[in-house]
């Protein structure tokens, strides 16, 4: 029977185009760029061979350390937040709202549609302190707390970024996870209910295991997105104040194109890629194990 499913022609026709485009426009450039990690200079001044100097610099550069730490903090907090909030929302859609959830799903999903520039402007205005207080500071003043310069301080700026990105993305993850939950057959749930499973117990022992595949792909998707965060931070804080909210991607982009050190920039990119790789392989392995376990 495997003969039919192993049809060479079918494999070539179906896989060929994707693999070709992917290899030419993605894999090759990645290896090409990785080659620059041994060079210093940029396209204007020309490249010179630098050996392993870029890697040595990578491990001693405080800017890289700071950006790496920020990236990890951001990725962990946002991934947990996105998937957790998304999962809660999708449970809400499926079990509390049932078929009437379409409108609310659309509304909660909607921020994903907004251009990053717009969302960043919105949050800048909400958390504004000058020239006048934004909504948040006005609310604080109303309960007798003084205004806070939200974006003027590293830790509060981080908080604003977290709130903004969760607001933006939770609806998206809710829809993603929702498709997984809808696919759970009602009769399984019904028989579980008849067995006396209720509330959290039902979620933990029946729903969670059944939605595990889609949950895992959401996590992989989320962690890779958050480790590579770029647009939203550039638009909201541009890495500031100082360099307090600069992720690796922004540091890499600046190093390569603004500071004109393309080789070193590529090394930072490589570091980030390896980080993503380790995390994903870890999740991927555990997901495979879970799926094959019967």
């Amino acid at each position: 029977m495997n003969n039919v499913l192993g049809d060479k022609k079918a494999i070539a026709v179906l896989l060929g185009p994707a693999l070709l485009v992917y290899t030419v426009a993605m894999l090759l450039p990645v290896f090409w760029s990785a080659g620059y990690t041994f060079l210093s200079g940029n396209a204007i001044t020309g490249f010179t061979f630098a050996g392993l100097a870029n890697f040595e610099k990578l491990f001693s550069d405080p800017a890289v350390g700071e950006a790496l730490w920020f990236t990890i903090r951001y990725a962990v907090v946002i991934t947990i937040g996105q998937v957790l909030l998304g999962y809660m929302l999708s449970l809400l859609y499926v079990f509390a709202l049932k078929r009437g959830s379409s409108l609310i799903r659309t509304l909660v999903f909607f921020p994903v549609v907004l251009p990053t520039v717009a969302v960043a402007l919105l949050f800048q205005k909400m958390f504004e302190i000058a020239p006048q207080n934004g909504l948040v500071n006005s609310a604080l003043n109303a309960v007798g707390i003084g205004s806070i310069d939200w974006l003027g301080n590293g830790s509060t700026a981080f908080l604003v970024i977290v709130i903004m990105d969760l607001w933006r993305s939770m609806g998206f993850y809710a829809v993603l996870l929702y498709t997984g939950l809808v696919d759970i057959p009602d009769d399984i749930l019904e028989s579980a209910r008849l067995d006396g499973a209720r509330g959290l117990h039902l979620i933990r022992h029946i729903i969670l295991p059944l939605s595990l595949p889609v949950l895992l792909s959401s996590i992989i998707f989320s962690i890779n997105g958050t480790l590579k965060v770029f647009d939203s931070i550039v638009a909201l804080t541009d890495g500031g104040p100082g360099s307090a909210t600069t992720p690796l991607t922004l540091l890499m982009f600046r190093t390569s194109f603004t500071y004109g050190d393309y080789g070193y920039g590529s090394s930072i990119a490589l570091l980030l890629t390896i980080l993503c790789l380790i995390v994903t392989l870890f999740i991927f392995r555990s997901s495979r194990r879970d799926l094959t376990k019967d």
């Binding site: 060479k8 022609k9 494999i11 070539a12 896989l15 060929g16 693999l19 070709l20 485009v21 290899t23 030419v24 894999l27 090759l28 940029n42 396209a43 204007i44 001044t45 020309g46 800048q124 504004e128 302190i129 000058a130 020239p131 205004s147 310069d149 939200w150 974006l151 003027g152 301080n153 541009d238 890495g239 500031g240 104040p241 100082g242 360099s243 982009f253 600046r254 390569s256 194109f257 603004t258 500071y259 004109g260 393309y262």
Partner: protein, 438 residues
């Protein structure tokens, strides 16, 4: 192919690479009629930042009028890129030897110098001399450009901006303040304004540079016009006590609340609006702001109520009298590699006509000589233009001679300096570290 694809990846990649060329050919076939960005002196191509509408607008006007003949030989073709991605675009284009005939040469002078070193920048001193129009650029503008680019005339002064402190004459009069000549007077004026419930100094901490301009202004005034050159040459360090003193002076202004609250989140428009609605008494800014002053919707204090003064002198300092910082805006240059008779014809036409037409059409002050007198310009523009013309000696700005990295560090940390979240010593250390690593 079939059998190859079913094998593991390592061996599968090689033939795919081989077929990449085929795909590329296929795609380029599809894209026929496009692919026009390749260089060539057929066009007078011009890459500019999308934000600046004045220069490209004026060049388009010239192409239909005074430079019509040049435009016929080599039509003006404008390409735009947002200023934030200009540096990236220049790198990509230079890597392909595909820089346009005229282009914006980077956000920091350091990048322009890199471009110059790799032979991409025209020597205008020679080019203008060959065209017998060496006097087309005002001496002051030429001096500014030369001090930026190690003595070379590398860019064209499409803008010639003078920076200083704009003040609200009415608020000054109401509070019994006269134009402050010294730093102490300046601080005292700030105190009076603050007591009167007015923000003394509007400044955009979000952009940072309006704050670091104050640091360099203080330095030039205290240590002399070569203060930043010494740092660039390694003869002095920003962490030296006399340099930290300048950062301290600006931090003190912040500590006294002279910038108002949340200086880090004040953007350009907010700062301008604070000044133009009478909520702030003073405003450090360049002369490009004149177009905002001229706009009745923005300017609620009236043009006649705006005064302009040089940076105050630090008592006992070595600075020059009437100290103004000048710049030529985002630098615009010609590509040395594509400079031919068509390009030089354009250069001649621009250098002889741009000064007058830009002033006439857009009230824009450039560093080109006015070959036709221009009347009917707003009084504030006129007086500023006279200031520009009479400025023989000027200073640069804080980041002018910095690497791009140090520039970013300086401008992103400036708000922290003014709000007190980092100390003056730390601020200067951060910037100096980036200067050292260059």
């Amino acid at each position: 192919m079939v059998s190859v694809l079913s094998r593991p990846k390592a061996r599968a990649i090689a033939p795919v690479i081989a077929s990449a060329g085929a795909l590329a050919l296929l795609l380029s076939g599809c894209g026929a009629g496009g692919g026009s960005s390749a260089q060539g002196s057929k066009d007078f191509s011009y890459l500019t930042n999308v934000e600046n509408t004045t220069i490209r607008g004026e060049l388009e006007a010239l192409s239909k009028d005074q430079c019509a003949a040049e435009n016929k030989a080599a039509p003006l073709k404008v390409e735009t890129v947002p200023q934030t991605s200009l540096d990236q675009k220049l790198q990509l284009l230079a890597g392909q030897n595909a820089l346009p005939v005229q282009y914006a040469a980077g956000n920091a002078p350091a990048l322009t110098q890199d471009l110059d070193k790799s032979g991409n920048v025209l020597d205008f001193e020679k080019a203008l001399k060959d065209l017998n129009i060496s006097d087309a650029i005002l001496p002051g503008a030429a001096a500014t450009i030369k001090s930026l680019y190690g003595g070379k005339l590398n860019v064209l002064p499409y803008q010639y901006n003078v920076e200083g402190i704009w003040y609200n004459k009415k608020l000054f009069a109401d509070n019994g303040i006269t134009e402050p000549k010294t730093w102490d007077d300046f601080v005292a004026a700030g105190e009076k304004l603050k007591t009167a419930g007015v923000t003394p100094l509007a400044a955009s901490g979000k952009q940072g540079w309006p704050l670091t301009r104050l640091v360099s202004g203080y330095l030039f005034s205290d240590l002399g016009p070569d203060a930043m050159k010494k740092v660039a040459d390694g003869q002095a360090k920003l962490t030296d006590p006399e340099y930290v003193k300048a950062a301290q002076a600006v931090a003190d202004l912040g500590a006294k609340g002279y910038f108002g609250q949340g200086v880090g989140s004040i953007d350009y428009d907010t700062a301008a609006s604070q000044f133009l609605s009478g909520k702030a008494g003073m405003f450090y800014m360049g002369s490009w702001i004149l177009s905002n002053f001229d706009d009745k919707a923005q300017n609620k204090i009236g043009e006649e109520n705006i005064g302009f003064m040089p940076f105050p002198k630090v008592s006992g300092g070595k600075g020059i009298d009437n100290q103004y910082a000048t710049n030529v805006g985002l630098p615009m240059t010609f590509n040395a590699k594509t400079y031919d008779s068509n390009a030089s014809a354009w250069l001649k036409c621009i250098a002889t006509n741009y000064g007058s037409t830009a002033l006439k059409d857009k009230n824009s002050i450039s560093g080109f000589k006015l070959n036709t007198p221009v009347d009917n310009i707003p009084p504030l523009v006129k007086s500023t233009q006279e200031t520009v013309n009479n400025t023989k000696e000027s200073v640069l700005w804080f980041e002018a001679l910095f690497s791009t990295k140090a520039t970013t560090t300086s401008q992103t940390n400036a708000a922290g300096l003014a709000s007190g979240s980092i100390t003056p010593q730390k601020f200067m250390e951060l910037v100096q570290n980036d200067l050292n690593s260059k």
